[in-house]
């Protein structure tokens, strides 16, 4: 596995925000990364056009998950809520950026949330979004926005989880796919930022292949002055990979999204099951 040093650089980080308390942590994590990479921070708030459309319908009613109360959802109220939320999100980003002294901009766009995020992400080197857990168990599974982003985003995407910090060793999944090199580069950058040696999980069909992959990764890490802690999964399945990450990985997981296990619905299932932040590399 050869690597060109100029192949991967992060100059622009897009962070998708809403008004939730978790957004503060997302914004702060984005600001930390921007400071480390010397990147510009771009905040994004999407006014969901689907909701606006819904609010224009006579049947638009909002049900509170806490009180079960139902109330009319008007366009005016919704727009007011969007304005308020976008202001809050902007303030959050400004505070986070100021704390790390990084340049920032903030955009409010109107559109379908998923497509708006993916569209904006095309101009960024790294996209960060939060994956919030709602108190109701029924919504613990990934929301549709995250699911679509997981499957359709390009470049490098980081999905944060509210319970896991970035300040712990990262885990890199190496499957020998073409994106492996870029994933390694991302893992190295993140590890050096935290001055922590990464865990490397090798996915291979046999021990020899695994050994070769390990040697190659070891060599790259050594060049960067890092040492990795290696684990191997021979003939991995989605279940075994999920189990390993669930039980062993403590920090962010870097996933090169090209192999069979790390694409499409399998990827969604994996991300759904583990509670770690994930960095998707495409």
């Amino acid at each position: 596995m050869n690597r060109d040093k100029d192949q991967f650089s992060i100059r622009r980080i897009l962070v998708a925000l809403d008004a939730s308390p978790f957004s503060r942590r997302t914004a702060q994590a984005a600001a930390d990364l921007a400071a480390e990479f010397g990147a510009e921070l771009v905040g994004l708030f999407v006014e969901d056009v689907n909701l606006l459309n819904l609010a224009g319908l006579p049947l638009a009613r909002e049900i509170s998950p806490f009180s079960s109360a139902m109330r009319q959802l008007s366009r005016e109220r919704l727009q007011r809520a969007f304005r308020s939320q976008s202001e809050a999100a902007k303030g959050t980003l400004a505070a986070a950026a100021a704390s790390r002294n990084v340049p920032w901009t903030f955009r409010v766009v109107r559109g379908a949330v998923t497509s708006a995020i993916i569209a904006e992400a095309s101009a960024a080197d790294l996209m960060i979004l939060g994956r919030m857990t709602w108190p109701q168990g029924g919504f613990r599974r990934l929301g549709s926005t995250v699911r679509v982003v997981l499957q359709e985003s390009r470049g490098v995407t980081m999905v944060l989880h509210e319970e896991i910090s970035l300040s712990v060793p990262i885990t890199l999944v190496v499957d020998g796919s073409p994106l492996g090199e870029k994933a390694l580069e991302v893992a190295i950058r993140l590890s050096k930022m935290r001055e922590l040696s990464p865990y490397i999980l090798i996915l291979a069909q046999d021990k020899d292949s695994a050994y070769r992959l390990q040697e190659s990764v070891q060599e790259q890490l050594a060049k960067e002055g890092l040492s990795g802690r290696f684990r191997t999964l021979v003939k991995p399945s989605l279940a075994s990979l999920t189990w390993w990450l669930e039980t062993e990985a403590r920090g962010p997981v870097v996933l090169p999204c090209s192999g069979e296990l790390l694409q499409g619905e399998a990827l969604c299932t994996l991300v759904d099951r583990i509670s770690n932040p994930v960095v998707l590399v495409r």
Binding site: L51, N53, L57, L59, A60, R61, S64, L73, G137
Partner: protein
């Protein structure tokens, strides 16, 4: 009726060393018990044996009589034979946490139970961790969690499926959820929706409404499902906990199976652990779980009390606070509380400052003296007890209610309104012995109505014993005991004899000995000191004398100053010649532990009058009531003896010259009478003599106090001016038994340089003082012409005649 001076042997009772059958105190056996006090011993025996309510004891006696040692020794001897009382422990009250429960356990069991519960606390974390990390538990727990998730997911997935079937989608809104009609994955815009047929629109609206209602119902059921899930988890936790801790507690239960209270307590502990296992596990999560600890405390409703920071407040509730431990006791306790402040006496609940507030729990309950002495005896100094605020009232309350209740003063008097602990009262079975001076006993008896009900027994301590040959032996052994106990040099029997003589001097009685142990012990210690200063290993009579002299020297600065004033004629005292109407009286100045005699000039002047006897001291309110009484007795005497058939037509004034402070006592009344008789008769009184003694209306001389000091006071003045052989002191004959005079006085008497006259009547006294016969009345009541009484009689008759003449001329 001539009165002879007392022979020297009457002036001092030497200790006959022939009666001391030992060479040094090393030859003597230490005295077991005490000298004297049979009455006190019997009272104490009675008071400590009788088992009825209120039979507590007041040991009444002067300070320094050895009451404390006597009482403690007697009680300790008695206590050693009685069975050891129970241990007292406070434990957490799981039903009412602010009212800790008392556990009364057989001696030594309290400490054992506390140790066992500490082991439980130490093991609890491991046991619970092991049980809850067990695979079986984890599987069952995950299964329960999964059950809830699946239940919720099932409901929402069903909802979403139904929505999809109806071309609707569940959307997240800024404040909740909503259903929207979709086409090609996007919400139908309003204008398109408007273009739908009315039937289509109605159908969509009906579907949405139906789903909205279903969603509402699901949301309403969510908390119930979660509650059910939590309850199932709790049940599981309890089951696992019970299983895990039962062996741990069973081991203790077996050990205390005969103690119902402990078994009951252990059952509540088990129940509590099972109910609060989540909190226990949270605190066990380590330092990272600090916030969870606090939450757990809040759930448990307990105070976060933790002085050490190392002990979790949650597990502190399982500790056992042994406030009284008798594991090493033999017999019942005998407790002396030297500082009987309210808290020391009745116990207290301590607090610690935590984040600006004061916190406590049952582990911070501390026993008072009544708890420690429970089942046995408590000795207290009455004066200290009475001078400590609220202590006396607290003790009486405890004795009255027969229970020891720990209450802070703030609580008791509602000074603070914050919640504190109300520990369960301890049943009290105790004998209290108060030590105090008699005056305190009488005052309490008179002014505190509860005192006679609670302290029915008085043990009176005497300060003297009879000076019998047997007593001399006992006394010598007492001295030997003090010497051995204090590891002093041995005393030669001469030294012991001198101590005994000084003991008699202390009580001013040849026939008695002092058992004021403090004074005797001080003398012995100081004699030992002087022996060491003199380079002797054996304490001799000289060392004892040196100790006595040094004691006097240290205290007699005032005496010296007073005598100097007399010697320099600032205070006028004649010790030679004769004067009409002037006599040397003697008084005693007491400086606490030291007294000395001081001569005072007493003068009398007379004039024509109506029988008034003016006591100038009384007129200016410098004379006490006893002194005034003495002077009024003189008027009675004069009237009865010289003016039976006519009015007493004189006015006389009496004064203590150069007296600038008060005069009290009647010991100068005979001197005043002599001055008066001299003034009336105009026969001078010898100034070489001094007088002490009170007189009654019949002219009999009565005993007085401080006779030795008075004689020595006048002797010192005479000696300083030079003894003439004429000087001396007149004392009441009844005071001869009190004479224990200084050696130099006795020597002067022996040499004929100084004289002590013991007189019984005024006539004897006036004869000695004037050298003129007093004169006895004949059958008709007339006195010899040239006798004192005859002259006085005549002068008074003449004064009466003058008064008659004076009255007659007034009428004309």
């Amino acid at each position: 009726m001539k009165v002879n001076p007392l022979p020297p042997e009457e002036l001092f009772q030497e200790c006959d060393i022939a009666q001391l059958n030992f060479e040094t105190t090393d030859d003597l056996e230490e005295l077991e018990g005490f000298v004297g006090q049979p009455r006190a011993a019997e009272s104490l025996e009675f008071g400590t044996t009788i088992q009825h309510e209120g039979y507590n004891i007041f040991a009444s006696g002067s300070s320094g009589t050895g009451k404390f040692r006597f009482v403690r020794r007697l009680l300790e001897e008695k206590a050693a034979k009685e069975p050891v009382p129970s241990d007292l422990c406070y434990v957490y009250n799981f039903k009412e946490p602010h009212k800790p429960c008392i556990l009364v356990l057989p001696a030594g069991k309290g400490k054992g139970l506390a140790r066992d519960m500490d082991t439980v606390i130490q093991e609890l974390g491991n046991v619970l961790r092991a049980a809850f990390e067990n695979e079986e538990y984890q599987n069952r727990r995950q299964s329960l969690a999964q059950e809830l998730i699946e239940r919720q997911q099932e409901a929402f997935e069903e909802l979403q499926r139904e929505a999809e079937q109806k071309q609707l989608r569940l959307l997240r809104t800024p404040a909740g959820f909503a259903f929207a009609p979709v086409r090609n994955g996007e919400v139908i815009p309003p204008d398109e929706f408007e273009r739908l047929s009315e039937e289509q629109r109605r159908k969509v609206e009906q579907d949405a409404e139906e789903l909205q209602q279903k969603t509402q119902k699901i949301f309403q059921r969510l908390p119930t499902w979660e509650r059910e899930a939590r309850e199932k988890l709790r049940q599981l936790n309890r089951e696992i906990t019970g299983y895990a801790i039962q062996p741990l507690l069973d081991e203790i239960r077996r050990r205390y199976s005969d103690l119902g209270g402990v078994t009951e307590y252990l059952n509540t502990v088990e129940e509590d652990i099972v109910h609060n296992v989540e909190a226990l596990l949270s605190q066990d999560a380590g330092s990272g779980g600090q916030a969870m600890q606090v939450r757990a405390q809040q759930r448990l409703g307990s105070s976060p009390v933790d002085g050490s920071q190392s002990e979790s407040p949650i597990v502190r509730r399982y500790k056992v606070n042994v406030i009284v431990d008798h594991s090493e006791s033999e017999g019942v306790p005998v407790v002396y509380e030297d500082n009987p402040v309210y808290q020391n006496l009745l116990g207290r609940v301590e607090h610690i400052a935590h984040m600006g507030t004061l916190l406590t729990d049952f582990n911070m309950i501390r026993a008072g003296a009544i708890h420690r002495a429970n089942g046995g005896y408590l000795i207290l100094d009455a004066l200290k007890l009475l001078t400590e605020p609220f202590a006396w009232e607290g003790l009486k309350r405890a004795l009255r209610s027969r229970e020891a209740k720990i209450e802070s003063l703030g609580q008791r008097y509602s000074l603070i309104s914050t919640i504190s602990l109300e520990p369960e009262p301890v049943p009290l079975s105790i004998k209290v012995v108060l030590l105090g001076p008699p005056i305190l006993y009488y005052l309490l008896r008179q002014f505190d109505p509860e005192f006679p009900k609670l302290f029915k027994v008085v043990a009176d301590f005497d300060t003297v014993i009879d000076r019998t040959p047997e007593a001399l032996e006992t006394y010598s052994r007492l001295i030997a005991g003090i010497i051995k106990r204090e590891q002093l040099r041995k005393f030669h029997r001469d030294a012991v004899a001198r101590v005994i003589e000084q003991s008699a001097r202390l009580v001013s009685d040849k026939e008695k000995l002092s058992i004021h142990l403090q004074s005797i012990s001080d003398l012995i210690r100081e004699a030992d000191y002087w022996a060491s200063q003199n380079g002797r290993d054996l304490v001799t009579r000289e060392d004892v004398q040196q100790a006595i002299d040094a004691m006097v020297y240290r205290s007699d600065l005032l005496r010296e100053k007073m005598q100097e004033l007399i010697k320099r004629n600032t205070i006028l005292i004649d010790t030679e010649g004769s004067k009409v109407g002037q006599v040397n009286g003697l008084s005693v100045i007491s400086l606490g532990d030291f007294s000395f005699g001081r001569p005072s000039r007493i003068t009398a002047r007379i004039r024509l009058g109506k029988g008034e006897l003016v006591d100038i001291e009384r007129e200016v309110e410098m004379g006490g009531p006893i002194h005034s009484k003495g002077v009024l007795i003189l008027a009675g005497f004069l009237g009865a003896r010289y003016a039976m058939n006519r009015p007493l037509s004189l006015s006389a004034s009496l004064v203590f010259e150069q007296s600038y402070s008060g005069v009290e006592g009647d010991s100068a009344s005979s001197a005043e009478l002599y001055a008066l008789l001299s003034a009336i008769s105009e026969i001078p009184i010898k100034q070489s003599l001094a007088v002490t003694g009170s007189v009654n209306q019949h002219g009999q001389i009565q005993p007085i106090g401080g006779v030795n000091e008075k004689i020595e006071g006048f002797f010192d003045i005479c000696k300083a001016r030079g003894l003439t052989g004429e000087q001396g002191v007149l004392i009441p004959a009844s005071n001869v038994k009190n004479l224990m005079l200084r050696r130099d006085v006795v020597e002067a008497v022996k040499d004929g340089q100084f004289h002590i006259f013991a007189i019984e009547t005024v006539d004897q006294g006036i004869e000695l003082l004037t050298g003129v016969e007093a004169g006895d009345p004949d059958a008709e009541g007339n006195y010899p012409e040239n006798s004192i009484n005859g002259i006085v009689h005549r002068r008074l008759e003449a004064l009466a005649e003058k008064e008659r003449e004076f009255r007659g001329s007034e009428k004309e």
